[in-house]
């Protein structure tokens, strides 16, 4: 298990311009995790990083990426000019036997973690540079502390590559979904539907892919688990809930006061060119979750939300139950196919679709894949040179794991097998799996 919380030594954000004079060093530190570390150590840490970053500019115009010491690894990320995010990870101190690298954390995973934390920050709080300097400290504290403690990256393939799990819907049901969205947007022109989820699977996306990924992660990691818990605790679903409700703010929208609680997000919608601020409204019925954006200049008024509720409620629950039926049927069909013991992972860079044979259920994390294998996959995934635009790589680990990575036409496909076989047998097996699982998808012939 990649236990991030225990591996993170510290995480901080600084901007050297915030306290340029001597004695103002603390002002430069926008955020420091863990918070209880005394300020002198904070200053030392940040000071070191400032120095390294500055020093490195002598050698390259590209920003500095990482620094490794004997016991720590520093990962740098400069999301906006002069704003630096640094993640410090402990690495095993004792010298180990070569080959025993099980505990090493693939830096790429940590780097991704940091980038996604920034993206989440940007979506909900906006750009660092647009926040007033004196407000920055409080805002960062408010955002990052809960974020770090809530994010737990498990030993799961779906965490190695950040992607979106799409629900493969049969076309008539899919048409029901988009016709519903059309009808809604036509009747409520202020409300633009940006996503439609069923459980934790995405059906409709009206954002650019990066924003969608961030919103998706927010929904499935933060907002929805709490709602699901509430639904389970609530025991019998009340009639009102069956007809759906607004879940952001989490208590729903019942009064004028609730309208003020609606959060704002900074997004690029499919038809926009740059990020703009929108109100984010989220509605849920049965297992279907729909999120909307409303231009921030729109006057929100309670009666609109009431009428929206009566409009969406019944329609959405019909659609949700027909999707549910289809999923059940799908599950029945799948249950008849004998499960295969090999594991695969598919990732499409262009729409961030992620499909895996491994259970991605957050309740029972898979223990079948060793961290070592995950690290290898993460490495292959991040090292664009090893696969290039198209290519294939087969890696064998000492404990008889065969990892095959294929890349083609902006897609990646990984197969993990544990068996005693030779290279040709593995290659043939992968070819078979690829044909079976990825029917109708074009792979560059080799």
């Amino acid at each position: 298990m990649i236990d991030i919380i225990n591996k993170i030594d510290s995480f901080f954000i600084f901007n050297s311009n915030f306290g340029p004079r001597e004695g103002d060093e603390l002002k430069r530190i926008l955020y420091f995790y863990p918070g209880q570390v005394n300020s002198d150590i904070q200053k030392t840490q940040v000071g070191l990083c400032e120095a390294v970053v500055k020093f490195m500019t002598t050698f390259s115009s590209a920003p500095c990426e990482a620094l490794q010491t004997q016991s720590k690894r520093y990962i740098f990320y400069q999301p906006e000019r002069n704003f630096w995010m640094v993640l410090v990870i402990c690495i095993p101190y004792a010298t180990k036997l070569p080959g025993d690298i099980k505990d090493a954390v693939e830096p790429a995973i940590m780097y991704d973690f940091m980038i996604s934390s920034y993206k989440m920050f940007r979506m909900f709080m906006g750009l660092f540079r647009e926040i007033l300097p004196e407000d920055t400290y409080a805002i960062c504290e408010k955002f990052f502390t809960p974020y770090i403690s809530s994010r737990n990256i498990r030993n799961d393939l779906s965490n190695v590559i950040q992607g979106i799990n799409y629900l493969p819907l049969e076309k008539n049901t899919f048409f029901k979904v988009i016709c519903f969205i059309d009808l809604l947007e036509v009747n409520y022109p202020d409300f633009k539907c940006i996503s439609f989820l069923y459980n934790d699977q995405l059906i409709w996306n009206g954002l650019c892919k990066d924003d969608m990924l961030t919103l998706y992660q927010y929904l499935i990691h933060n907002l929805l688990p709490k709602q699901v818990e509430k639904e389970i605790q609530g025991g019998a679903v009340t009639a009102a809930e069956r007809h759906g409700r607004f879940i952001s703010p989490p208590e729903g929208i019942h009064s004028e006061d609730d309208l003020k609680k609606i959060i704002k997000v900074y997004l690029i919608r499919e038809d926009d060119n740059e990020a703009k601020a929108y109100y984010l409204v989220i509605y849920r019925t049965l297992s279907a979750t729909v999120s909307f954006t409303v231009d921030e200049n729109t006057n929100l008024d309670l009666s609109t939300f009431r009428s929206l509720d009566t409009f969406i409620g019944p329609k959405l629950s019909t659609i949700a139950s027909s999707i549910g039926e289809q999923c059940t049927m799908h599950a029945l069909v799948n249950a008849q196919i004998t499960p295969t013991d090999h594991k695969f992972l598919y990732f499409n860079k262009l729409n961030l679709a992620l499909k895996t044979s491994m259970p991605s259920n957050s309740l029972n994390p898979s223990t079948a894949v060793s961290p070592e294998v995950l690290n290898i996959i993460a490495e292959v995934h991040n090292d664009h040179k090893s696969l290039g635009k198209y290519g294939e790589i087969i890696i064998k680990t000492p404990d008889e794991y065969w990892i095959t990575g294929k890349s083609s036409n902006d897609r990646e496909f990984y197969v993990v097998m544990q068996k005693n076989a030779n290279l040709k047998e593995i290659a043939d097996e992968v070819k078979r799996i690829c044909e079976m699982q990825m029917k109708g998808i074009f792979f560059y012939p080799m």
Partner: protein, 627 residues
Amino acid sequence: MAEFCLHDSDQYYLSLSEPPKRFDPNSPVTNVFFDDTNGQVFTVRSGGVTGVTVNGLDDSKSTSFRMEDKGPIISIKFSPDHKVLAIQRNVDAQTPSVEFANFKDLVPTNVEYSHTCKWKNAKILGFVWPKVNEIAFITDYGIELLQVFPEKKQLKTLKSTSFSCAWFSWCAQSNIVVLAGNNGALLQPFSLSSSNITKLQKLELDATRPVVERDVFVIRLCEATWCAIFRHGSPSTSVSGPTEVCLMPITGGNGILHILKTGLVGRFAVSVIDNLLVIHHQSSQTSQIFDIMEESKRDNNTANHLPIVSGVSMKPALVDGQECPMYSGNWVVFQPDYIIDARLGCLWKVNLIHSGLAHSLSKDEIPKVVGALLRRQGGNDTIYRILNQLVTNADTHLVELSRVFDEINSVYRKWADIEVARNTAGQVVEKGSDTFPVLISQTDMCSHVLQAHADDKYLVQVVTAYLSSLSLHNMTVQQPVAEISVRTLVTRGASGRLRSLVRRGCLGEEQLLACQLLSLGHFDPAAAQLALDMMCRLKAHEEIVEVLLSWNEPVSAAGAARQCGVWGALPARKVLSAAKVHGPAAFRALYHALLARNERERGSPHFLKGEQCEIYIEYYKQLMEDS
């Protein structure tokens, strides 16, 4: 309820043919008779002495002649070929006979004869011409079917059937006559086809509610023959409520009883226009239209119907430049669609105005009206107009629009299924045009509706709704629709939607579509990705090779070419030019592969002069020197 009004539509949905056919009106010296079989008006002046004029909507069959006045005429009718004129008179002698006069080119030949019914004491209630040279006398004793030999001035009995009858109703379109016995408590249909009298199944009536002559009509509707019976509420029979029309099937109709709810009381008349049943109501001066083919809830083989749209009057007709009284008491309505005003001397046909059906509707009724128009001859123009208006107002009519699409496509689907069945079974049954008067194909939809709305705000939603309806009816998306969809979605910034649709096969799988997607690849790489997938599924391997070469991916192109066996024919120059762009490693590899190919095919590794590879040979040499 939100209203819908088709722009420039007629306020009325029924009109009388303009101008009316004029004839001398009824007067003390003139008697007017109408033959509904031939659709002709006979005006008999002074018993025929001062002339008989025969007028119909078909002018070629109009004529006038004189004849002797042998007594008051009850009925006068030409045979279907207009060669024999039959006259029934009310003469004192009471012999049940009919007179005949032979005609040639609509002129009397002065050959006259008469024939007496086989039951000497019977009373002839009327006669009908089931076909050329066949006449049937309907008497209170029964029916006698006779063959006429005009040259011999003779008639010969073909068949006769006894039935105690008070009155009858005749349907010329189906050659079926319904005889009423037992004071109207028993209705017995007979078919007079194929020179025979066939007794059909009698109509079950409520014995406590006998019917009268003016409430019974035999009509031909939807390829079936029906007996339409008006059932009025009356205190004496303890049945209350407005009048219903009960359509009892005589032949065909799948044995389903249709009940038409008029919601009115009073005097009614019936017309049949294009398989629609029109009920004229005199006191409210309205006409209601019923379509028995509409989808309706069936309960125990009984289908209930309401008017398609609420009743409206017929369009006021002009006679001599003035509006004539409509629904007048002087009107006589004949089936299928004749109306006569004997006082004014006018003969009209009733016409349906399609656009009038969409003049004033609630939103919910739009799909139903389109459904009805799909079953009408020439209904397509109005459907296109409705569609165009809905598309323009898609913001408020999106739901109705998709239901209209569903109506259109379900009809198309049914037609296509029948066509397929016919083609596979190899049967040749010419019924198509009758059962499906209006078919709107995908091409029609594009050329008449979608193309005209290129600038509409909600075209994306409209196109989606149409695709959704096609998918729901399991119809493959055809090229024009796919093309218009792609264009709309791309130009409106909905390429995400386009990709989701393509991914689910909602736009079909076509090489042309793949090429369209490919051309979008410049600004939407995901579209190109899908295009390659689609080509792969379509097994368009040669195209894939071309695409990869144009993307400067020569190694993959060579691989793809090998897979589909065109490697040997791949022009070396093309491969090398792509390889040069891609990089030295790829160039060397492919150069060697091509040399090997040459060696295998021609026994020598060198390129031919015709292959024009000189610059690449030079480049190779240069590469090798450098390394």
